[in-house]
Amino acid sequence: MLCQECGKRPATLHFTKILNGEKTELHICESCARDKGEFIPGTQSGFSIHNLLSGLLDFEQHAGTGASKPPAVRCDSCGMTYSQFSKIGRFGCSDCYKHFGERLDPLLKRVHGNTTHVGKVPKRAGGKVKTKREIDRLKQEMQGRIENEDFESAAQLRDRIRELEKEMGGI
């Protein structure tokens, strides 16, 4: 779908506006949305967390490497660029997390003080994640035992870790 305004760029923002009970659909590109001063989700005044976020993101962008502009990163799946994301403060799809990769870490660190999930794991996706966490935990424990020169039980842990790694399809 092309942008209703310029007819050139693809429409990435889809709105339903309800004004005095009248409904209008709007499909525009981000650049036209900006020019028109249209409401963009996440930049709504008063929705302070997102304003704050996009402030943070801007900061990340400009701070980085001085004058040299960082290369444009784009999500292959939804077309969102990192710079769009930094303005809107929202991802376009779940693959954005993958495509923006480690650039996200400083932001996540600031928002959450952390970059890695430790909570609930869905069962469907979860088998491997749980096993991997268990392996990490066992490795730590093994290290501790080696330091305490408890080599016998460290060896037992090593065997268990190998078993688990085999379960995961051999790494």
Binding site: S94, H112, N114, T115, G119, A125
Partner: protein
């Protein structure tokens, strides 16, 4: 929600919201109408075919079929967000009969599971929300990755996707001027506080919603435990401030709550701001034992039923503001007279 729960002298309700998305579909903000409709049908299918059983009969509401007023009422009842009401393109709501489980479809994320409990029951709310989450997860593939957890539209929700919140009535902390100090302490331990009707609005009727801000790097249990402990401390501070008010200035506080009760019982015009302040005084009076004739259930009911949308829904859509204030006054007078 009219039933009372534990610690309901201070905590009105506890709520869990989980943000979830389907793998392989753009988030609602970028989804085309066709894409968001496909997401909606897929999610409603899980509910429609009774696969959320255990919840009893479910009501499925497509927001496109509602009037603006009907949507406003759902917002006032905290069943949907203002955001979903405004951008309800292919938005939907799945609701259980008691209205304490509500699932929003195509809000900022594909799926937002909400579970509400009366009083201080945040752990119980989490247990229920997590079970509903499991049922959805059996039927659909969630967007999840090992590093970032549940992937959400906004980076502030990623990880657990959980927002745990408790609604607290803190009139004595406000009256004794301790509230700001306490709120700033609370925000320093990673919690957020806001007024009753969401972002940016001031706290009307001395009602504050305390919720977690961090969703990544802490487990759901840690998040809930942190909120639980902080809310517990606020609760104790509020109770201490109440007994201090009672012992230091009983006459003044009694005068205040009785005046508010008198005005609510007799006024002919009542705007929503005054109503929430007066109802706050009366609620305080009841819990201080100064107004034994008033029923707390009635107050909880009035909290919702005196909101503008709800009033217009009950008494006709065409109410203009002055009529609304008169109708509100009538309603409050009637309800207080019946209950006392």
């Amino acid at each position: 929600m009219q039933t009372e729960g534990p610690e309901s002298d201070v905590v009105l309700s506890s709520r869990i919201r989980l943000a979830r998305n389907l793998r392989g579909s753009p988030f609602p903000m970028l989804a085309t109408p066709a894409q968001s409709q496909a997401v909606m049908e897929q999610l409603l299918d899980v509910a429609e075919n009774g696969r959320l059983n255990g919840l009893g009969p479910l009501e499925i509401i497509r927001l496109s079929e509602l009037t603006e007023l009907e949507k406003l009422v759902l917002v006032e009842k905290h069943l949907i967000s203002p955001n979903l009401a405004n951008e309800s393109r292919n938005g939907a709501l799945i609701l259980d009969q008691k209205e304490d489980v509500s699932v929003m479809v195509n809000e900022e994320d594909h799926l937002r599971i909400q579970c509400m409990r009366p009083g201080f029951q945040i752990r119980e709310a989490w247990e229920t929300a997590s079970l509903i989450d499991d049922v959805f997860e059996e039927q659909i593939d969630y967007a999840f990755d090992e590093k970032h957890g549940f992937l959400t539209s906004c980076p502030t929700n990623v990880g657990t996707g959980i927002r745990a919140s408790v609604m607290m009535h803190l009139p004595a902390l406000v009256l004794t001027g301790q509230i700001n100090r306490i709120l700033s302490a609370v925000t320093q331990v990673g919690l957020a506080v806001r007024g009753l009707y969401g972002e940016g609005s001031e706290a009307t009727g001395n009602l504050f919603q305390v919720s977690n801000q961090i969703t990544l790097g802490q487990s759901e249990e840690e998040i809930i435990e942190n909120l639980h402990q902080v809310a517990r401390q606020m609760l104790e501070h509020e109770r201490a401030a109440r007994s201090k008010l009672l012992s230091d200035s009983r006459a003044r506080i009694e005068d205040r709550v009785r005046r508010s009760f008198g005005i609510l019982s007799h006024a002919a015009i009542m705007d929503s701001k005054e109503a929430s302040q007066r109802l706050s005084d009366v609620r305080l009076g009841v819990h201080l034992g100064l107004l034994p004739q008033v029923n707390v259930k009635t107050l909880n009911e009035l909290l919702v039923s005196t909101q503008p949308g709800f009033l217009q829904m009950t008494y006709g859509e065409a109410l203009h503001p002055e009529q609304r204030d008169m109708t509100r006054a009538d309603l409050i007078r009637d309800r207080l007279a019946i209950s006392s």
